[in-house]
Amino acid sequence: MQKAQRQHAGLNAFGPGAQALFHGVLGLFALLCILPFAFVIVISFTSEDSIRQIGYSFAPLSWSTQAYGYVFALGGALWRSYFNSFLITVVGTLLSVSICVLYSYPLYRKDFRYRGFFNFLSFFTMIFGGGLVPTFVVCKTLLGLSDNYAALIVPLLFSPFNVIVMRTFFQTTVPGELIEAATIDGAGEYRTLLQVVLPVVKPGIATIALLNALAFWNEWFLSLLYITKNMDVIPLQYLLMRMQRNADFLAKNAGMLGADAAKAARNLPSQSLKMALVVFIVVPIACAYPFFQRYVVAGLTVGSVKG
């Protein structure tokens, strides 16, 4: 693909003028895409004095690592929510990938009798749903998803879109003969899946694992719905959201912090601290991004072509 692409651009390509124009337009937009993040990094290293005097600026009067100092000093609630983000992402991803593979593999097998039925069962939820309130009521009162980790994981465990992506990966990379051969060799269904099929679809699994991990890492809506009292389980995304509405969230919830930290919270560099927390959320994504980008592109392309 990459090679064909190169040839295509080389073949009596647009002239230098047009090339320069393309670079200008694309480069400008690309810069604007990452500029806000750069700005937030700058603010997180800006001293409170500078913020008080000239506001947020790309060229602050003085720099400071105070905000990060406070992140470490406050510990408690901040680290707890950061840990929650990781915990929810890891557990959620493992479970949802397993469920997705187990659901999409039979849909790929042509000899599975109820293939059409289960295909429809999943697909139909993409075009119709009960809506926010009935879902909320069922999850909360019937399934007990409230103020616990389960509430932040279970509602996201299954995605019809990912099932389509995974099924397409099976269809394009696992030849039917492979399964016939395994069956003839006497492997059971689960053994065939685990030892024969899974090694072949590793890229597909990487793709849906990343899509799921991103969904869990960026999740805040479930906290907004299901977490009302128990702030010990909230992820960093939601903590940040609360801090935005309520500037003194940390100081007011001093109970969440240790005694020393509560004292420190009173003269918090709240503005740069918030931005430092944003940096904490984005950094894991920014670091992993160059490596996972191509898997996500593969998944999204497959999903929307066969969607």
């Binding site: 090339q19 600026s57 809506g131």
Partner: protein, 293 residues
Amino acid sequence: MVMPGAIWLLLIRYLPMLGVVIAFKNYKAQKPNTFWNNLIKSDWVGLKNFQFLSSPATATMIRNTLAYNAVWIALVLVIAVTFAVMMSELKNRFMAKAYQTMMFFPYFLSWVVASYFVLAFLDPTSGMIPSIQKSLGLKPTQFYMTTTWWPLILTLSNLWKNVGYSSVLYLAAITGIDTTLYEAAAVDGATKPQQVWHVTLPGIRPMIVILLIMSVGKIFNADFGLFYNVPQNSGPLYPVTQVIDTYVYNTYANTHNMGMSAAAGLLQSVVGCLCIVATNAIVSRIDSESALF
């Protein structure tokens, strides 16, 4: 094997579909406070929960949802296709890849994070724009209280997050076009712009149609995160920021009127479903290859 997923679907997706009867009930906690008991014992109120439809706020939120979505579908389509074509035509492949990587990045960030990015520019006390206004001796704009700028701010936020994603999809489609078509066109004397018009664009038409069906089908669904987080759910901004999704949530969160909120959600689901089926029917009439189902 399908059981874990099937059970999840039944509990989390299909059971709530039964729960839509809440829209026709005065749903209240009963004794004992269990789901089935509440559902059965709450009084039927017929269509009373749908009375919100006649309020002026309803017209506003429906207008907002449809207008923003329609404008954004068109804008994202045009800009993303243009960018994808430009990226595919760049001779410097390294830079093309770099642009793609940078543009795709916002797609991976949540709206909570994005709302902080917007706040960095607009915050009334320290935001960059009000600060610059102050330093110039002007009266700083109270962005979170004034409706004027929000259609623009929301549009820019949406483009920032989604253009890169769509460009990547279109670029992938362009990459899949058979290069011999370009050679043939060149032999026939087609200039580069003509090749784009007659080879590239027809080549990515299926992708354009699919993404279009998906977004037109979702025209009654707004991006909750964008409309809730970026304007910080600020009341004075509702005339230009309230959409069906935020209305459903705010109704529930502020009044705990489950019936009305469920009614609004049900209408949205039904109309949305009809939209998808209708768009798909139209597309399959015109070009059955491109239809979704």
